[in-house]
């Protein structure tokens, strides 16, 4: 399951207006087989204060659907060298290890809280990933032009209350470009149905021309309730389907 890259395929097949089919097609093309990049995460508290986290990230997708990610902190200086290794499995809980240079040892972190924020930002899994296709119901809500792109406006609702609770939302609206199937905007609603977080996607780049896969390199999210916002800006992106296996090991993050 991909959190940081949100690539969707530009599908050459005839366009369907079935919302579930549109989302399904997007989902099938969502994962890049391998990626290396630098990411700047900007966290704003809505009161003029800002935290910047600079990381290098590598991801690799395996045939069984498992995705492995390595995140190494580059800045600020006091957390430089902190490494995170995540093994994201399809049908079981993720494995996460953290290496802290101050302790000089790695520790496994067991956390079941999937809908919580990422790195203290406003981003969460539910903002970056909409779950498996059957977890939600989809309804076409017309079309709208976003960022000069004609988009399908699709309303997504959790299939069960439990899924709603897990993702912490009552519904979500996504604007999917009719041209490249890449989302341009998303608006999630809190459990009471109030607008909660608005996410804007930009910097869309074609990463794998052969397979016709795109990459969203910039994402900005605004929490409409508390005024906080976060930005994720990926640079130096290298599409690399054969990212070295050793990068996704504890010994690698401990050496950085």
């Amino acid at each position: 399951m991909l959190i940081f890259s949100f690539a969707l395929g530009s599908i050459a097949m005839a366009q369907s207006t079935d919302p579930k089919a549109i989302m399904d097609k997007s989902r099938e093309q969502v994962k890049l087989s391998g990626l290396e990049s630098k990411t700047i995460l900007e966290i704003n508290d809505g009161k003029g204060n800002q935290r910047i986290r600079e990381t290098s990230m590598s991801t690799r997708l395996y045939p069984d659907g498992t995705e492995k990610r390595t995140i190494i902190f580059l800045a600020p200086a006091d957390v430089k060298g902190t490494g995170i290794l995540i093994h994201d499995f399809v049908n079981k809980e993720d494995n996460m290890w953290i290496y802290m240079p101050a302790l000089r040892k790695s520790r496994k972190i067991v956390s079941s809280e999937k809908s919580k924020s990422f790195m203290g930002s406003e981003f969460s899994n539910s903002d970056l990933f909409v779950g498996s296709i059957d977890d939600f119901n989809y309804a076409m809500d017309g079309t709208e032009t976003i960022d000069q792109q004609l988009c399908w406006k699709i309303k997504i609702t959790p299939a069960t209350p439990k899924i709603g609770t897990e993702f912490g939302i009552s519904s979500k609206t996504m604007w999917i470009s009719q041209k490249d199937y890449v989302p341009r905007k998303a608006l999630s609603f809190d459990p009471e149905g109030n607008p909660w977080k608005e996410m804007v996607y930009s910097g869309i780049k074609l990463m794998d021309p052969k397979a016709g896969k795109y990459m969203v390199s910039k994402m900005e999210i605004k929490n409409l309730k508390n005024g906080r916002s976060s930005k994720m800006d990926m640079s130096q992106m290298i599409f690399n389907p054969s990212v070295k296996e050793e990068i996704f090991t504890l010994s690698y993050i401990e050496k950085q």
Binding site: I43, D45, K47, N49, R51, F73, P76, A77, D78, V79, T82, I84, I98, M100, P101, A102, L103, R107, K108, I109, V110, S111, S112, E113, K116, S117, F118, M119, G120, S121, E122, D190, P191, E192, N226, R228
Partner: protein, 763 residues
């Protein structure tokens, strides 16, 4: 043309204008707002208030609203499901900044080398085994035990931090609606400052609805019984009502709000405002009895000549006494001083203009058939006998009075102060019982905050924070102490093995602290610890929850904290609602002594001025001082504390009590000037003016007596002690003053050398 003649001539305009002015002020009454906040009691310049506001600006509001569910076992699925539903809806309320509950708190622990971060309550148990597993999990989780679950699992709480400026009524209505939406097992109570404040507001309204009509009814009754004449009832009562309208109407006009002690203003108007009217109507009847055929203008001229000056003096001394409240530190006490002074001033103006004008309009009363015989009533007879006894043995009388005062006054050493608003409610009031539950089982409902500023990731600051936390935790009355340092320590405990260096402690390096905090940031919600540290790690808060919020304990604790943290350069301020209460307590004591001394100085100065002799100031001071001692002594013996209301008593008492001494001395001087010996003058003054003083004092006592039915203990205590203190002033005027003047024979009473004489019973 004399003033009395002007009043008679313009009697109709005077009456109409008096009503119009009063009604004009009364039009503002509907705009009155109630302010139940303890913070409103102390001035904006008080350090604890300034500090609390600054701390709240960084870390958000510190007021807590607690939803407490109680049952045999709160881990029963039906109770937990209900609590979860309520918690989910509660946390979404716009007035709630953040929520702590079994469903929002985390579990951070180390298991077999792994750091396990999860929900404190991962699931709702449905079997016995599951329940016991969860019980064990929770028992080991220091983030939840004693905070949102009691040690015996009979209580669970949802704790919401409330945004500053929240409307308590709207919030509590919303919470009650949520609770009604999810009925079920477990008894639910609400606690915390919003509940306390709303109860104060409700009780103030209840007090106004009950106490005002009761006081007016009692006044109506006493006036009817005293005068048996509609003029004697209508005239003083209309003065009371008109002065009450003005003093209460001024509250919103001055931009003030109705606080807990403001309820005393209308009651003071009822109790004090009728005095001058009573004097006038009494003298009016006396004149008519003596001269049934006197002309209207003649009647009014005589009335004015006889009473204008004494009434003016009485009112001015009372106004001066209550105005001494301006020196009080408690803000509403100052407001009570100003409002009651203006109200009494208006009552004085009305008594000198409106009442004579009304007497000029209303048909003349039939003269009473009774003759004005001396000491014909039991009271007069008693006062006559009292006068004879005092004049025979003035020294012994004074000695006995002094000894009694001394014995009672010894209670002063037992007096204590109470500024904790919770204690203003009855011990069985739900506000109090819920607060006791929170204090006993859930960490406490009041807080003290210590703000650190600097590089919060610096291990030195972290370790100091931890040291303070551990030291303060051991103090009496402290329920729970939280800081970002204990969170970092907890992470070290979960992240490291017990054998590892740095286990259960703060990392040795700044980078270590930063990395721990980064890890915490990754594990939870960004707002999880924003109450403990700010976004940029430049400010941190040590939050102390107090489970014994009695003023004595909070003051001791505040002293301890100040001493403990005295030399710490990172600590920029200490605040919190607990500290505000403590500072208010100190203010109560200071305010009490300051206003008492200043009231005493002012009225004694005025008495000296009235009689143009320093000795008069001394003679007035003695019975008032004795009355103060009696008041404090009885408060001590009967464990009635100094509180925001009772600290107002002395100023009001001195303001009222000085009237009696001035009136007594005035009449005594008249009698002595007329040629009576000091002893005879004392006896005559006692059964003439003494009787009027008795009526006046009883009227004031009855006026204040409805306060004993107040919903608040400070107001009840004020009512009781006001009756006691006015009685003490009465004794002072009728026993101490005669004895003292007979012993000292001051020249201001005669204008000549002292005379010595005895009195016979047939005087």
């Amino acid at each position: 043309m004399k003033i009395a003649e002007y009043i008679y001539r313009f009697r109709w305009p005077i009456v109409v204008i008096s009503w119009l002015i009063s009604i004009g002020f009364a039009l503002a009454i509907p705009k009155i707002e109630i302010d139940p906040d303890v913070k409103a009691l102390i001035p904006k310049s008080m350090p604890s208030k300034i500090n609390t506001e600054k701390i709240e600006a960084v870390f958000g509001g510190s007021e807590m609203l607690l939803v407490i569910i109680s049952g045999e076992d709160v881990l029963a699925p039906s109770i937990l499901e209900r609590l979860q539903n309520i918690s989910n809806s509660f946390s979404k309320l716009p007035q709630i900044e953040r929520t702590l509950s079994l469903f929002s708190l985390k579990s951070i622990k180390g298991i077999e080398g792994n750091m396990v971060v999860g929900e404190a309550l991962p699931f709702i148990p449905h079997t016995l085994d599951e329940t016991e597993l969860i019980r064990k999990e929770l028992s080991d989780n220091e983030l939840v035990m004693g905070t949102v679950v009691s040690d015996d699992f009979r209580l669970a709480a949802i704790i919401g931090t409330v945004y500053t400026g929240t409307d308590d009524k709207i919030l509590l209505d919303s919470v009650n609606a949520i609770i009604s939406r999810y009925p079920g097992e477990g008894e639910i109570n609400l606690g915390g400052m919003p509940v306390v404040k709303q109860s104060i507001t409700d009780n103030i309204l209840k007090d106004i609805k009950i106490l005002m009509p009761l006081a007016i009814f009692l006044m109506l009754l006493i006036l009817t019984l005293s005068f048996r004449n509609y003029k004697g009832v209508v005239l003083p009562l209309s003065v009371v009502i008109l002065s009450m309208l003005v003093s209460v109407g001024l509250i919103p006009l001055f931009g003030w709000k109705f606080a807990l002690v403001t309820v005393l203003v209308p009651v003071m108007m009822i109790a004090i405002g009728n005095n001058y009217g009573i004097y006038l109507v009494t003298r009016y009847q006396e004149i008519l009895r003596r001269e049934p055929d006197i002309s209207r203008s003649g009647l009014m001229t005589e009335l004015s000549a006889a009473l204008s000056r004494p009434i003016l003096l009485c009112a001015l001394t009372t106004i001066a006494g209550v105005l001494a409240l301006l020196t009080h530190i408690i803000v509403p006490a100052r407001e009570v001083g100003v409002l009651s002074a203006i109200g009494i001033g208006w009552a004085l103006i009305l008594s000198l203009t409106y009442i004579p004008a009304m007497l000029g309009i209303l048909p003349r009363s039939k003269p009473s058939s009774k003759e004005n015989k001396p000491h014909e009533t039991p009271l007069e007879h008693f006062l006559f006998r009292l006068g004879v006894s005092i004049s025979r043995k003035p020294k012994i009388t004074l000695l006995i009075a002094g000894l009694i005062t001394l014995v009672i006054g010894m209670g002063l050493v037992k007096i204590y102060v109470e500024g904790n608003t919770i204690k203003f409610f009855d011990s069985k009031d739900p506000v109090r019982t819920t607060s006791d539950l929170i204090d006993k089982h859930l960490g406490g409902s009041q807080t003290i905050s210590i703000q650190f500023t600097g590089d919060i990731k610096d291990p030195e600051i972290m370790n100091r924070m931890l040291y303070y936390e551990e030291s303060i935790e051991k103090q009496k009355g402290v329920g729970q102490v939280m800081s970002i340092a204990s969170v970092v320590k907890l992470i070290s405990k979960a992240l490291l093995d017990p054998s590892d260096p740095g286990y259960n402690s703060i990392p040795r390096t700044r980078d270590g602290v930063a990395q721990f905090l980064e890890l915490y940031g990754m594990s939870g919600d960004p707002s999880d610890y924003e109450q403990l540290v700010d976004f940029n790690y430049e400010n941190a808060q040590l939050l102390i929850r107090i489970n014994d919020a009695s003023s004595r304990n909070v003051l001791n604790l505040a002293d301890y904290i100040r001493k403990l943290t005295a030399d710490d350069p990172a600590i920029v301020r200490i605040g919190g609602i607990g500290l505000i209460s403590a500072e208010m307590t100190n203010s109560l004591v200071t305010g009490q002594w300051r206003s008492t001394i200043i009231s005493m100085l002012i009225v004694c100065f005025l008495a000296g001025l009235i009689f143009r002799k320093k000795a008069a100031a001394f003679i007035v001071a003695v019975p008032l001082g004795m009355a103060c001692l009696v008041l404090f002594g009885i408060m001590g013996w009967s464990r009635i504390p100094f509180d925001p209301a009772t600290t107002l008593i002395t100023s009001v008492m001195i303001g009222c009590g000085v009237d009696y001494t001035v009136q007594f001395l005035w009449r005594q001087r008249d009698e002595m000037m007329a040629g009576l010996s000091p002893a005879r003058a004392v006896v005559k003054t006692l059964y003439t003016t003494g009787k009027a003083i008795c009526f006046n004092a009883f009227a004031v006592m009855i006026g204040f007596s409805p306060l004993v039915f107040s919903s608040f203990s400070p107001i009840r205590f004020f009512g009781i002690m006001m009756v006691v203190s006015i009685f003490a002033c009465l004794i002072g005027a009728l026993i101490v003053i005669p004895a003292l003047t007979l012993i000292l024979n001051p020249t201001f009473l005669t204008g000549s050398q002292p005379q010595i004489s005895k009195v016979d019973e047939n005087n």
